[in-house]
């Protein structure tokens, strides 16, 4: 369940990266940030959140144990 959720979100994020809907939009948000750049900065934060989910729900415990065994 946890791994499927993480993989599902990974695929969704991949598609969300292709933001063609703002391709020709040069509007600024907060008066200085182009909307296309603000969106991708938000995308970077979403990636960090996905990393946290991966560590919490899909951590490779077996592999860790295998590496630590003498």
């Amino acid at each position: 369940m946890g791994k499927s959720l993480v993989w599902g979100l990974f695929v969704i994020l991949f598609f969300l990266h292709q933001d063609f809907w703002w391709w020709d939009d040069a509007d600024l948000i907060f008066g200085f940030m182009p909307i296309g750049l603000a969106y991708h900065a938000g995308f970077s934060m979403a990636c960090a959140f996905l990393g946290w989910l991966a560590i919490s729900y899909a951590w490779p415990h077996d592999l860790e144990k295998f590496a630590e065994e003498e």
Binding site: Q18, M33, G36, H40, M45, L50, L63, E64, E69
Partner: protein, 565 residues
């Protein structure tokens, strides 16, 4: 002169750090190559992040944004946040586990064992060296391009042949490249991978802090955050590209151009609604013509440029960040980890660190289009902005040290990794483990590092005008074409030695073909804008799957070794 003194002071500090890490050096080859697997989460994050962010991240991203606009961030930074973190999680932890369990120090040792083949090591060694060298070159070229503008006027009688007339008397790129190479060589020589991890951590902190400081000063000089958004070049109702502002260095103030200064014109665009738009703030491609001053004759010469990014290019760029899965220097950093848990912070924080560094650089590059001449070399944009907008020489020195920190935090790992793979995969592999003592092994690694530094320096002087961003993309393209080999080695039991060799050869020949077509390092797209890395990756993956299916599977012993239940 003050700026130069600050930069020299920073380089001396790094040398001191090298001496310090040398005191912690345990004297064994394992400590020299992988720091005895002792690096914790924070040092791992800083060294991995510092290694992946080089001149490409600061100098290259600012230059590319100056050329093509804010699409540069999505093109390389945000997709890297997703792909890099996934690779650290899926590839990095797994390789670390096998390295720790079976005593691998290099990638080639892993591949030799996984594919039960000596020949794959001899095939991979020259290819890895060939691909790391452009990565090293961008560091040395980037350093040279950064220092010259900020030291302009320091030695007018000594350095009389500048890259651009306004930089007369600045420290020339050949001298900067030489000094940077020697400093990096010194601390890698003394401290090995532990020294590189310490230096990387220190330098990563320096360049992140200095980047934010530079960003703040640039915003202030542009009249505050709201006004900065108005600065980039604009297209007027006649399709002429104009600069509405100029920065007056004497008063230290941004002033309105009345009338706006013409710098170029739109030649072609699919979008007709661009009046009063700032093309650096969108991603729709438009062809424009600018004019630049000929260095010798002073004549204005027209040149064409494409602003924005074709959508197909944007999509296929996702193949470029796959390269981190095959970087030999990153493999070495992964192996320095104390435990699998050390990776956790890197997986989460790496995308955020990328954001902190890249967003300001991309904004500065876009803003630069409104105050710098269009013909300025892209790698010089960041330092030209610092020189123009930040008046205080001490501050410029500190900010430039930050740029050098980003550059050197990659150079060190790359130099060290080449020494490591040569010593372990060629010398020790051929001679046998017991032929050399630990001291001799370290000596051999150091000698090879010196040879590589000398070779890289010579090549950097020959390619001194190369575009840092484009050259880096070629390096990454080669490594991403090799990605199917490492992924299949870890996740597909049926992958065979022959399949891996076919994949490496397909990656090599397809990459060489496109590299040649690009004129050896220029920007190059296939068809409607597909990046060559996508095609090289496809060729490599196809060769791997087809040849593996038609050849004998690996032995049961190997499968059990690399696919534990």
């Amino acid at each position: 002169m003050t700026t130069l003194s600050v930069i020299i002071g920073y380089l001396c500090l790094l040398l001191a750090l090298g001496f310090f890490s040398n005191r912690l050096f345990r004297g064994t080859s394992k400590d020299y190559f992988v720091a005895s697997h002792s690096i914790g989460p924070f040092l791992l994050l800083m060294s991995v992040f510092g290694t992946t962010m080089t001149a490409f991240a600061l100098v290259g991203s600012t230059g590319k944004s100056f050329e093509r606009g804010i699409g540069t961030y999505g093109l390389m930074a945000s997709i890297s946040g997703l792909v890099h973190a996934a690779i650290f999680f899926l590839i990095g932890i797994r390789l670390w586990a096998f390295g720790k369990k079976h005593g691998f120090i290099t990638q080639i040792q892993f591949f030799r064992a996984r594919f039960e083949s000596d020949s794959i090591g001899y095939l991979l060694f020259p290819i890895l060296v060939l691909l790391v060298i452009p990565y090293l070159l961008i560091g040395i070229i980037g350093a040279g391009k950064t220092i010259e503008p900020v030291t302009a006027g320091a030695f007018p009688a000594l350095f009389t042949n500048p890259t651009a007339p306004q930089w007369l008397g600045g420290v020339p790129p050949w001298l900067t490249g030489l000094v940077v190479s020697l400093v990096v060589l010194s601390y890698v020589f003394m401290g090995g991978s532990r020294g590189a991890a310490f230096a990387n951590t220190f330098q990563t902190i320096v360049f992140m802090i200095m980047g934010l400081v530079a960003f703040t000063f640039i915003i202030n000089a542009l009249g505050g955050i709201d006004n900065a958004g108005k600065v980039p070049a604009r297209i007027n109702e006649k399709g002429i590209i104009v600069q509405d502002f100029r920065f007056d260095k004497e008063s230290g103030l941004l002033q309105q151009n009345d009338p706006p200064k013409t710098i170029g014109r739109v030649i072609a665009s699919e979008n007709s609604d661009f009046t009063d738009k700032q093309p650096h703030f969108w991603r729709e491609p438009i062809a424009v013509e600018f004019k630049t001053k000929n260095r010798k004759t002073g004549e204005l010469v027209p040149f064409e440029r494409e602003l924005g990014i074709p959508f197909i290019t944007f999509v296929t760029y996702l193949f470029i960040p796959l390269s981190v899965g095959m970087f030999p220097h990153l493999f070495q950093h992964w192996l320095t980890a104390k435990s699998a848990k050390s990776f956790r912070l890197t997986v989460i924080a790496h995308p955020l660190c990328i954001m902190v560094v890249w967003v300001p650089c991309v904004l500065v590059g876009a803003w630069a289009s409104g105050v710098l001449p269009a013909g300025i070399p892209p790698p010089a944009v960041l330092s030209a902005m610092l020189n123009l907008l930040v008046g205080d020489p001490v501050l410029i020195g500190l900010l430039t040290a930050g740029v050098l920190a980003a550059i050197m935090s990659s150079l060190d790992s790359q130099f060290l990794c080449l020494g490591t793979i040569f010593t372990n995969d060629i010398v020790i592999h051929r001679a046998g483990k017991n032929k050399y003592s630990d001291k001799q092994i370290i000596f051999i690694a150091r000698c090879f590092i010196i040879a590589i530094v000398a070779l890289t320096y010579g090549l950097a002087m020959l390619a001194k005008d190369a575009n840092v961003f484009d050259l880096a993309i070629w390096c990454f393209s080669g490594f991403s074409a090799l990605f199917p080999v490492v992924f299949a080695a870890l996740y597909w039991k049926r992958t065979t030695k022959e399949g891996a060799i076919a994949s490496v050869l397909a990656a090599l020949f397809s990459w060489l073909y496109y590299f040649h077509e690009s004129g050896y390092g220029g920007e190059y797209m296939v068809g409607p804008g597909i990046v060559p890395a996508a095609i090289c990756f496809g060729a490599s993956a196809l060769a791997l799957v087809l040849v593996s299916l038609f050849t004998t599977p690996p032995s049961k012993k190997t499968i059990e070794k690399f696919f534990p239940k």
